[in-house]
């Protein structure tokens, strides 16, 4: 597949669009269907596509495995961090209302940040899963 020019070109054009769409789903999840999880999966599919056309090594150069691991952990840490932050600010764990001056604003900030965490972890893990699996297919 890696030698198919048409595929390469299409992928090159398609990937950014998919990523853009992922970002839309990520940040527009409050108003329309979607959210961190869906965005993460969509984002990962862009990388998947890239890896399928350009090969695993190229994809790994683009996003090294360590970055994925960090991303996966960081997502959970961001989510948990919001919870801890709300505890520090005097609320219960994950009580976003205390994050800003008004409860609504606080909720808003909280939801956006945790969705980001979700998206980060999901995207990283999905890509990581694919990479790890795909590496086993390659003949020795």
């Amino acid at each position: 597949m890696a030698n198919d020019l048409i595929l390469r070109v299409i992928t090159k054009w398609l990937s950014p669009i998919i990523i853009l769409f992922a970002l839309y789903v990520q940040f527009h999840g409050d108003y329309s269907p979607g959210g961190g999880f869906q965005a993460g999966v969509i984002f990962s599919s862009a990388i998947l596509l890239y890896a399928l056309t350009y090969g695993l090594d190229a994809a790994l150069q683009l996003i090294p495995e360590m970055a994925l691991r960090i991303g996966a952990s960081l997502g959970v840490l961001i989510y948990g961090g919001v919870g801890v932050a709300s505890m520090i600010l005097g609320g219960n764990f994950l009580n976003y209302s205390v994050l800003a001056s008004t409860p609504i604003a606080g909720q808003h900030i909280g939801i956006i940040v945790i969705e980001l965490g979700v998206g980060l972890t999901v995207a990283s893990v999905m890509v990581l899963l694919f990479f790890t699996f795909a590496r086993r297919v390659a003949p020795e």
């Binding site: 948990g80 801890v84 505890m87 609320g91 764990f93 009580n95 205390v98």
Partner: protein, 496 residues
Amino acid sequence: MEQLTILLIVIPLMCAPITALIPSEKITWALTLIVSLISLAISFYILYEVIDGKHVIYELGGWRPPWGIEYKIDSLNAFVAVIVSGISALACLFAYRSVPSEIDKKTIPLFYAAFQLCLLGLLGISLTGDIFNLFVFLEISSLATYALISMGKHRKALTAAFSYLILGTIGATFFLIGVGFLFAASGSLNTADIASRFSSFEDMQLVETALIFMVMGIALKAAIFPLHSWLPNAYGQAPSAVSVFLSATATKVSIYVLLRILFDLYPVEYWVDMLLPQIMLSLGCAAVIYGSYRAWQQVEMKRLLAFSSVAQIGYMVIGLSMLNELGLIASIIHLFNHAVIKATLFIGAGILLYRANTTQLKSLRGLGKDMPWTFAAIALAGLSLIGVPGTVGFVTKWYLLEAAVEKGLWIVVATIVVGSVLAIAYVWKIVENLYFRSKRKIHIHDVSSGDDGVAKAPKTMTMALWIGAIMCIIFGLNTELSFQAASSAATALLER
């Protein structure tokens, strides 16, 4: 105080992702130990606060239940949390030398991360008051468990992990079906909320099916006979440290969930009408006999211990299905007692594995003479398993007996007697092979030969072993803490 309760979850939750990123095996180990110890301290503190029948409520996200998720912690929750985090610390101490000998160096940080996630899941299950949230934590712990078990040395570990994955997921999904049915009937997921409005929907067939599926799902996870088939392989093949941790906690936490479902979520009269106590009582008795008998037949120590777990779970089931306070106390206290005993025995098996590179009983012959201290601790824990007075095992059996006599259930008395005799038989089998049979040539483990010689078990391992063995005695003599926790938990369960 309230904020402390959630720290029990938050600390392992925040630590696990960090652990996964640190490449050093020593640091990740230390982190895991620290997390376990902090959890232990916190859960002890909570237990101390709630032991006289109070409870702590924590509303996550500041939302009132049933709209938000709530933690309602009474003595039972705290007691289970103490067991889980305490055993985790013990297993961790043991793991220091055991894990590097069994697991690839690069994988160790991930291993400890998964270990912490498993701890997190189990703690979550034991604290939450929301049945769906419980499912989520059940899955966290299960997924971590599958991965941990698959790290066993032998390839059988992979198949064991796979079949556990299949059966565990069936169990969890059954539980999810039950939750769904109950949700369809009640519109709520909060335990206390459902319980308080129970009479308004108790006539529905939905509720009945929900109970059956939840109980079946959890029985599968708790390895209650005859749904135990995954357990012997899983605990037998897992890396030693994992066997220690899981055998002492995972099934116990499931039994705890069963207690919650049967006593808190549903009114007792409801399932008495369904003949559930009789069914469970017979299954419990069957488990004791079958598990002990199979344990006796085994030729490999970890598998033997795993079958003995099947039997011991039977005792817990018997205790809770007798529906009197003493029986419940016996069950709850046995959660703790069996955890201590089994952890000690699996640590012992782990040390033997470390030394001899096998746990086949015939290959271990005579090893007890080279390692008298290890052998003595194993023997002590073995006596506990039998239920010799002065050990923790006795306390449980005594309360079970009292409960059975109170109810006039002679079949239970007979089961306990037969079970104990079989326990003598299988513990003797270990003791005999370790000490009485003449030595066979054993291959000494190659990893340990490098540093501190092959003749000794590493200090951390021996320490963990003896902490366990001494606990078997101390809590067999001074039952104040465990009894008080269990009896206040039992009272709370029966009050409803």
